[in-house]
C-alpha cells in the first residue's frame, strides 16, 4: 500500500509545541509510507488540494492526516480523499492538537507523542479496506407512541404533510395529561377548548390510524423499516360497533369503580367513557370492578347496548404495523407524594396533588367545577399550596426541577380566588421558576392582583387538627416559624418519567437516564433525535416540559421525520459489524448481546446456521465483536487487526 502522511501545523496551534517537520520526516520511515509532508492549514481549501495532488502524483492508496480531532475534521478529509478517487475509509487521522499540542508545552515529549500517534494511524491504515454504503428503501409511515399533546402535534404535522401515521395510546383516550387540566398558564385559556379540536382532528384524519387502549408489544427493524407489534388491550367492548352513546354507563350497577381520569377523586362505573369529549369516544369495561367478569350475574350493559357491542369473551389482540420512523411521546407521570411521611404520606384526604386539584377545578370534574374538599365536600377557605414536592429533593431521588409546578400553582391559586373570592391562598415555595414568555408576570399577578400569599420556605410538617390541616413551615425570608391552619393542602407534585419508560426504551433500543427520561442524541444540537436512527423524541418523555415546549418538540420531531421521508432511500453506514461465515460457530452470543437486535440467524444449506448482521440496523458499537469468541464478527473500520495494529506499535 502506498501511504501519504500529512502533518498539519494548524498555524501555531500544533507547530507551536510540536516539531511537525520532524514528525513528517519520521513518518517517511514507517512501513508503506511513501510520502510525508507538513502543511500550514491542512483543512483549508489549498491544504485539501495538496492532499488530492499528492494522491494523484504519488499514486497514494491511503492517507493519514495528523491534525486536530477526528471529531472535528474527519468528515472534511474523508470528502477530500474521496474527491481524489480514494475510498473515504482509506483514511486515518492522528489527533495531535487536542491530544498533544494543546495539553503540554514540552516540545520534545509532544513531538515524540505525535510521532507515536502517526505511527499508530499508519499501522491501522495498513489494515483498512474500502467500505461501501448501500441504499435501503424508506417506508414512509410514522408511528407515534403516546397520544398526549406532543404526540398529537407530531401526528397532525406529519398527517398534514400527507404521511400515514399510526398512533398508539396506552389509555382509553388521547389527550394525555393536558386533557385533565382545567385551564392553562399563563393565558388561563380552557385546556379542553384548545386541545379538543386537535383531538378531533386526530380522529378524523383518514391517514391517522389510532390505537387507543393499546401498548407497544415489540419493535424490530431499523430506520426506514420498523416492524411494530401493538397489543390492543381487552376493552370488552367492540369499538367498531360502539357509538359512545353512554347508555351502558348509566345502567351499570357497579358504581364504585376507580375513576382514574379524575385522579381517584370520584367514582366511575365499571363500564366507562372517562369524559364527554373523549377521543375515541368508546366505552371500556374495567375488569376489576365488572360484576359479570367477576363471576356475578349481571350483563346489564350487554342487554342495554343498542348495537350489541359488549363482548365478555374478548381477548388482547396483537396487530402488526410497518413504519419507517418512530416518534416517542410517552409523556410523564406525577410523583407519588405518599413517600413524604411528614405531609401525611397520602393518608389525609384533604392533602391532594396538583393534578387532583386540577380535576376539582374542572367543570367536567367530579364536583362539576365547584371547589370542594374531598373529605367532606365543604368549600375550603384557607388553601395552602406547597411547591417542590418530589422536585429538587435529592433525598427522594428527585434532584431535578420539574419546571412546571411554580407556574401551575400560580394558576391554581388565581383560579381558586376566581372561584372562591373569600378564600385565602398561601404558597410555600423554595424559589420561583418562571422563565417563559409572560410567565413571571403571571406569577406576579397572582401575588399582587389576587393576593396569594407567597411564603419562602419549606414545609416541615402537615398534621390534622380537628377538621382542618395544620401546615408548619419556616418563612426563611423573615426567619420565623409559620403555621397555617388550612382546609385544603395542594401539593405541587413533580414530574417523573412515565411508568414503564424503561421497558419501552429497551424495546426501542434507546437510552434513558437514571430517572427514566429518554436521552436525546445531543443536548444542544440534536434535541429530538435519539442514538437509534429513525427514533425521535417529543415532549416530557425526554424531560419535564410545559405545554408550549412539548408542542414545539412535537413539531420538531415531525420535521425530522419529514426530512427523513423526503428521501425514497437511505444510505447505510458501512462502519458496521460483518460476519465471516467461515469462522462463525453459530453460538449466538452476538445475537444475545446486540443492543439493537441487528443480528439474526441465517440458514445455509444443510440447516447450518450462521449469524448475519442487518447492516441498516447495526449502529456499530462493536459489543458483538468483543463478545464473539472466534472473532468471526468484525466491526468494520475497528476490526481486531486494526486495533491490534495500533496496540502493537506501543508494545515493547
Amino acid at each position: 500500500m502506498r501511504i501519504g502522511v500529512f502533518v498539519c501545523n494548524c498555524g501555531t496551534n500544533i507547530a507551536g509545541t510540536v516539531d511537525t517537520k520532524k514528525v513528517a520526516a519520521e513518518a517517511l520511515g514507517f512501513a508503506d509510507v511513501v510520502y510525508a509532508t507538513n502543511y500550514m492549514y491542512t483543512c483549508s481549501e489549498p491544504g485539501q488540494q495538496e492532499i488530492q495532488r499528492a494522491i494523484a502524483e504519488q499514486g497514494l492508496q491511503g492517507v493519514v492526516v495528523a491534525a486536530c480531532s477526528p471529531r472535528m475534521h474527519e468528515p472534511t478529509f474523508r470528502r477530500a480523499v474521496e474527491k481524489a478517487g480514494l475510498n473515504r475509509y482509506m483514511f486515518e487521522m492522528a489527533n495531535i492538537r487536542e491530544h498533544v499540542s494543546w495539553i503540554g508545552n514540552d516540545r520534545e515529549a509532544n513531538t515524540s507523542k505525535a510521532i507515536d500517534l502517526v505511527r499508530m494511524a499508519v499501522a491501522k491504515l495498513r489494515f483498512n479496506a474500502p467500505l461501501f454504503s448501500s441504499k435501503m428503501p424508506v417506508n414512509k409511515r410514522l408511528l407515534v407512541i403516546g397520544g398526549g399533546v406532543a404526540g398529537i402535534q407530531a401526528a397532525l404535522d406529519c398527517a398534514d404533510g400527507g404521511m400515514d401515521v399510526v398512533m398508539v395510546e396506552r389509555q382509553q383516550y388521547i389527550g394525555g395529561k393536558m386533557a385533565k387540566l382545567d385551564k392553562t398558564f399563563p393565558t388561563i385559556d380552557c385546556s379542553s377548548c384548545i386541545l379538543g379540536p386537535k383531538m378531533v382532528d386526530v380522529a378524523q384524519k383518514e391517514n391517522i390510524t389510532l390505537y387507543a387502549a393499546s401498548e407497544i408489544e415489540s419493535i424490530s427493524g431499523y430506520i426506514g423499516n420498523f416492524t411494530v407489534e401493538i397489543r390492543k388491550k381487552t376493552t370488552f367492548v367492540n369499538w367498531e360497533a360502539c357509538t359512545g352513546c353512554g347508555a351502558c354507563m348509566e345502567k351499570c350497577p357497579s358504581k364504585k369503580a376507580a375513576d382514574y381520569f379524575n385522579e381517584g377523586l370520584g367514582a366511575a362505573r365499571a363500564i366507562n367513557i372517562p369524559f364527554p369529549q373523549a377521543i375515541p369516544k368508546k366505552a371500556m369495561i374495567d375488569a376489576a370492578y365488572c360484576r359479570q367478569l367477576n363471576g356475578k350475574k349481571c350483563g346489564v350493559c350487554a342487554k342495554i347496548c343498542p348495537v350489541k357491542a359488549i363482548d365478555f369473551e374478548m381477548k388482547d389482540e396483537i396487530v402488526t404495523e410497518k413504519v419507517g420512523a418512530i416518534i416517542v411521546a410517552t409523556g410523564y407521570d406525577l410523583f407519588d407524594h405518599a413517600v413524604y411521611g411528614e405531609y401525611g404520606g397520602g393518608r389525609y384526604p384533604d392533602v391532594i396533588s396538583g393534578l387532583q386539584y386540577e380535576r376539582i377545578l374542572s367543570a367536567s370534574g367530579p364536583f362539576g367545577g365547584h371547589i370542594r374538599r374531598p373529605s367532606d365536600g365543604k368549600e375550603p377557605k384557607e388553601i395552602v399550596f406547597i411547591s417542590c414536592v418530589g422536585s429538587r429533593d435529592a433525598s427522594v431521588g428527585r434532584p431535578y426541577c420539574s419546571g412546571i409546578c411554580c407556574m401551575y400553582i400560580a394558576k391554581q391559586a388565581i383560579l381558586t380566588r376566581d372561584h372562591l373570592p373569600e378564600s385565602n391562598s398561601y404558597v410555600f415555595y423554595m424559589d420561583i421558576r418562571s422563565p417563559g414568555k409572560n410567565y413571571d408576570e403571571f406569577v406576579r399577578r397572582a401575588q399582587e392582583e389576587y393576593g396569594v400569599q407567597y411564603i419562602r420556605g419549606r414545609v416541615g410538617k402537615i398534621y390534622r387538627r380537628g377538621e382542618r390541616m395544620v401546615v408548619q413551615g419556616a418563612d426563611t425570608l423573615l426567619g420565623v416559624q409559620v403555621e397555617v391552619e388550612a382546609d385544603l393542602v395542594v401539593l405541587a407534585t413533580g414530574v417523573e418519567s412515565s411508568l414503564g419508560a424503561g421497558e419501552l426504551a429497551e424495546k426501542l433500543r434507546i437510552s434513558y437516564d437514571q430517572y427514566g427520561f429518554y436521552m436525546e442524541s445531543h443536548p444542544k444540537l440534536r434535541p429530538v433525535e435519539t442514538n437509534t436512527a429513525g427514533v425521535y423524541l417529543a415532549g416530557a418523555c425526554q424531560g419535564p416540559k410545559d405545554i408550549p415546549s412539548s408542542v414545539a418538540q412535537g413539531s420538531a420531531a415531525a420535521s425530522k421525520v419529514q426530512s427523513l421521508f423526503a428521501h425514497d432511500t437511505i444510505e447505510t453506514n458501512p462502519q458496521v459489524a460483518l460476519v465471516n461465515e467461515r469462522n462463525c460457530i453459530a453460538c449466538g452470543k452476538c445475537i444475545q448481546v446486540c443492543p439493537f437486535g441487528a443480528i439474526q440467524w441465517k440458514e445455509l444449506r444443510g440447516g447450518i446456521k450462521k449469524a448475519e448482521v442487518l447492516a441498516s440496523v447495526c449502529q456499530g458499537c462493536g459489543v458483538c465483536n468483543a463478545t464473539c469468541p472466534p472473532k468471526a464478527i468484525q466491526l468494520q473500520h475497528a476490526t481486531d487487526n486494526q486495533i491490534l495494529a495500533e496496540v502493537n506499535e506501543l508494545c515493547a
Binding site: L28, G29, F30, A31, D32, V34, Y35, Q58, R119, R582, N648
Partner: protein
Amino acid sequence: MAVKIFIAADRLDSVLEKLSTKIDLWIPALLKDDKSGPTGFVQYTPGITPAFDRQTTMPLKKLLLPQEETLLRFKYQKDPEGSLKTTIALDDPKEARPTLVFGARSCDVRALVTLDRVFANGPYVDPYYVQRRKNTLFATLVCGQTDSKCFCSSVGGGPADMEGSHLRIVRLEDGYLVEALSKDAQPLLADLAEAPDKSRDQLAAKLVKEASKRQVGDLDTKDCAPAFRNRFQQNDYWASMVSQCLSCGVCTYVCPTCYCFSITDETRNLEGERLRSWDSCMFYHYTLEASGHNPRPTKLERYRNRVGHKFSYIPERYEGLLGCCGCGRCIRSCPVNIDIRQVVGNLKENSNEQ
C-alpha cells in the same frame, strides 16, 4: 585414549559438569519440580535433575528442529525517492555448536533416520537441519525401562539399537558404563573417569546382549502400506478408530519423527523475520486453503493422514523407511488414550469386510 569409562552414580554430576566444559551438553531432565512430572532434554547446567530412569515426555527433535527458528531476516529500506528497497539477510544456518546429547534412548536416536532422510537426503537439502545434525553427537542409553506402550522392535529398532549413536551408555546398579562407538566420540571420554573394571565390563556386555534380544512390542508393520491404501476409503473404519480424537497436537509434538512445520512472517514496521515453527497435521489450519477449501477438514482425514504418513507415504517415498520409531509417546500422552498400534494393527484385520 579411553573408549570405555565407568561413571559411578555419585560422581555423575561432576562428570557431567566436566563434560559440559568440553561440549554443549544436553541431558534428559525434569522440567518441573515433581518427580513424576514432565521431562525433556535441556542444556546441562550444574544442579539440574537428570531423568535417566524413564523416557522423556518431549522428544529430542527440538535440538535439530527447534519449535521456532528464524529462516531469514528482511528489512525494507527507504530510498530518497520514497520507494521501498528491500534487503534480505539470510539467517543462514549459524555455525552450530558441537553438542552432545547424553542419555537419549535408542528410539529417540532411531527417529533421526527418518528426519535425516527427509531433511538431508534430497531432492532438496535443509541447510539449517544439516548444520546442526553434523555437529551433534549422541550418547545413547541401552534401554531397560520399556513399558507397555513401547514398540521399538516393531519398527526396526530395539532397546539396544545403536544406529546413529556415537556412544553407548549402559546403566549398572552403581553407575554408568559409557563406551565410544565412533572415533569422533572418543576424545569426549578422555580424563572423565576411569575405565571400567572387568566385572562391570562383562556385566554391561551381558546387559547389552540381553537387551538386544528383547522384543519390545508385537505390532506387525509388514505390508502396512498396501493395507493402508486398502483401508483408505473406508470411512467407517477410520471413524471407529478416531471418534474420540480431540484434534489436538499432543501426538505430533511429542513424536520424535513428526517434523511437519509452518513458515510464517513476523514483522514490525520495516523489519521482520521469516520463522519456521512446528506445525501439526492434526490441526484444521494445517491444510486450510485461502479459498476456504480444506482437503482434510475433519479429524478423520487428519488422523488418517498421520497414520498414512508414517506407515504408508514415507515408506512408499523413501525406500520402505517407516516414519515411526516405536517410542510410544503418542500413546502415553494422548488425552483420550488413542493407541496407534491398534489403528495400524487393525489395518490388516478384516480389511475387506466393508
